[in-house]
């Protein structure tokens, strides 16, 4: 059994998770700190009969994985901030055509080229709002190497289940830190495959939906003469320039995620039953915050901890429940301010929202956060 246990870094964990989930197509462009994902995929996929393509740029990469997914394969790409910005139009295409893909954004210092090899948490809003116009997205953010593996499998499952692109967030800390990873085998985990149509082509409607608003979309080559259109389309996939078509179309693309949010959302909370101050953080930063909260608790302070694991759809109900007895929340993040936004939108008016924007790319120690926390709680 020991060959299933590695001491490895977050990028490797993402690759292992993707392969267990059944990903056999990767197209990517090298960008620090995500390049190890591409490198490992280029080594492993051919051994499994899979395909690695080094795209000529990120635009080629995102569009290639969309094409591969339209033809029936589970496909993935990985990038960082500058490349993620280039992929926004492609993400919109995947949303509009309801094509399942997984995009890994290993966040780094920005804006623009920033500092390639240093971590940051500045793309949390972009994960939700990066592409133009109205859509909802699912985004996951692991905090450990094991969770990176597990959430990668979850990302593929959610993509196939809801026929939508998934943004898997990571950062320069998680990409490089090494921990024990237990590689679950495919029969130890749930692996979801997209549904296939079971009606005749003459009556098939690619965007007809079930009660969860999820369509059953045929793959190319299955004999359904299906049209996948980036233009606003109806149930047949046909472009229609009609107000009622657009109204229904934009409603259904958003409602598909919103309606199923509680089935999708994952979060983590500790010591929230009687917490007066709840600290909110995501990703590896959250481990530092949790260490600090634990120490404060052991000294008798009534502090609690909340970690959104699905950043989007943001676990609003769950957060409101976690802070039911609190009068103060403090958002801790390694950025100027991103996670603070969904927190502000979610919480009721009579709770005080504090903010610790950690502007250094050197991760803090729990003590450093503790000092800032004490000030923030007082002030």
């Amino acid at each position: 059994m020991t060959e299933n246990i590695l001491f490895t870094h977050g990028n490797q964990a993402v690759v292992e998770g993707a392969l267990v989930a059944g990903c056999r197509f990767y197209a990517g462009y090298p960008i620090t700190p995500s390049s190890e994902i591409a490198e490992e995929m280029s080594k492993r996929l051919p051994k499994l009969g899979g395909i690695y393509v080094q795209g000529e740029d990120e635009l080629a990469s995102i569009n290639m994985i969309i094409g591969a997914s339209m033809a029936g394969m589970k496909a993935m790409t990985a990038t960082s901030g500058p490349g993620y910005s280039l992929m926004q139009e492609g993400i919109g295409l995947a949303v509009a055509t309801e094509t399942p893909i997984v995009i890994v954004n290993v966040m780094r210092v920005g804006p623009s080229t920033g500092i390639a090899s240093k971590p940051w948490q500045g793309d949390i809003m972009q994960a939700r709002f990066g592409s133009h116009s109205d859509y909802e997205i699912i985004s996951l953010y692991p905090w450990s190497v094991q969770e990176a593996f597990d959430l990668t499998i979850e990302a593929f499952n959610l993509a196939e289940k809801y026929m939508t692109p998934i943004i898997l967030l990571s950062d320069g800390i998680l990409a490089r830190m090494r921990e024990k990873l237990y590689i679950r085998s495919p029969n130890e985990v749930e692996i979801i495959e997209r549904r296939k149509p079971n009606v005749a082509p003459e009556v098939y409607k690619p965007y007809a939906r079930d009660e969860n608003l999820v369509p059953t979309i045929a793959s190319f080559g299955d004999g359904y003469a299906i049209i996948r259109d980036s233009l606003t389309h109806d149930e047949r996939g046909y472009y229609l320039e009609k107000p009622e078509t657009q109204a229904h179309y934009v409603w259904v693309l958003n409602e598909k995620i919103k309606r199923n949010a509680e089935k999708i959302q994952k979060w983590d909370e500790k010591f929230t039953d009687d917490a007066e101050v709840v600290f909110i953080a995501a990703g590896p930063m959250a481990r530092i915050v949790l260490a600090m909260v634990k120490e404060a608790r052991s000294e008798g302070l009534k502090w609690g901890f909340f970690r959104p694991i699905t950043i989007w759809p943001f676990p609003e109900k769950q957060l409101n429940n976690a802070v039911r007895n609190a009068n103060n929340v403090i958002v801790v993040e390694m950025s100027y301010g991103k996670l603070i936004y969904p927190v502000r939108w979610t919480l009721r008016n009579n709770i005080r929202i504090g903010h610790i924007p950690w502007l250094s790319y050197v991760a803090p120690s729990p003590d450093e956060i503790r000092k800032l926390a004490e000030k923030e709680v007082m002030g």
Partner: protein, 280 residues
């Protein structure tokens, strides 16, 4: 009262979407017909053909043809098509795009797909203008032509796409025009039955925009000009072809060679990787 009459190629059309939205006399319909005629004459299985297009008038082709199709982002039809082909190598994957979609915003993808000798057929309809957005200058517009974003012509020199794609490594490069739809159909048949990267440029008439802006009163006036300036040459190197609106636009087949394709390389890679044993 006319009873329901079906065109001989009706089974390849999404009849419920006709009439299409291309202008009267537009060459794109002619290109679409040449394509499905080629499919029909080759007796290919339509369910094993996928067509991918970008944005533009030419990009609307998949909307009217009854194949698996994708109408994707501007300039990105080629990478989407490559993804489809690699995921399902048994499909014949054909890209349709205009000169702006394939050569301008999509230029990088075009040259890399040619370099890889990717197993795709790319049919680029060149009507010298950005039609769907109303008539802006394109990288193929003749220097002296008037467009809405080149009112003080001349703009820069246009691309000779045949040279560009041949230099990038494509193994089949041809240029035809809508004035010779049968020759175009024969070329498409060749492209559909070969492996590797096939590029067919089709000089086409845009009567409502390019035609009107440049003094061509009827669709036939413009098609006649295209017919007159398109000179068919045989046994000529792609780098000797001309692309001169005032003199000659060389038509013909300029590259047709057999080389290992991208799929060949990927299969070799898989064999090599598996042969190296199962060390993780």
């Amino acid at each position: 009262m006319q009873e329901i009459v079906l065109h001989p190629l009706e089974k390849y059309l999404r009849s419920d979407r006709l009439p299409h939205t291309w202008c009267p006399g537009c060459g794109i319909g002619t290109v679409a017909q040449a394509f499905i005629r080629a499919v029909d004459e080759l007796k290919l299985d339509p369910s094993q053909i996928a067509i991918v297009s970008g944005i533009g008038c030419t990009g609307r082709i998949p909307l009217y043809l009854k194949f698996d199709g994708a109408h994707v982002l501007h300039g990105r039809a080629i990478p989407v098509a490559l993804g489809v082909k690699l995921a399902k190598p048994n499909l014949k994957v054909v890209v349709f795009g205009g000169d702006g979609d394939i050569l301008s915003i999509g230029g990088n993808h075009l040259i890399h797909a040619a370099r890889r000798n990717a197993d795709l057929v790319v049919i680029m309809v060149n009507n010298f203008i950005y039609g769907l957005t109303g008539g802006q200058v394109a990288p193929t517009t003749p220097k002296e032509a008037y467009t809405y974003t080149s009112p003080y012509n001349p703009d820069s020199k246009p691309f000779n796409a045949v040279q560009l794609v041949a230099a990038s490594g494509a193994t089949y490069v041809a240029r035809w025009s809508t004035a010779y739809p049968v020759l175009l159909k024969e070329s498409i048949k060749k492209a559909l039955t070969r492996r590797g990267f096939s590029f067919i440029e089709v000089i086409s008439q845009c009567p409502e925009i390019f035609g009107r802006l440049n003094g061509f009163k009827t669709p036939y006036d413009l098609l006649k000009k295209i017919k007159d300036v398109g000179i068919i040459r045989k046994n000529i190197s792609p780098f000797d072809t001309k692309y001169d609106w005032n003199n000659e636009i060389t038509l013909g087949e300029f590259v047709n060679k057999d080389e290992p394709t991208y799929l060949d390389y990927l299969n070799q890679i898989i064999e090599k990787a598996r042969g190296q044993g199962d060390k993780k």
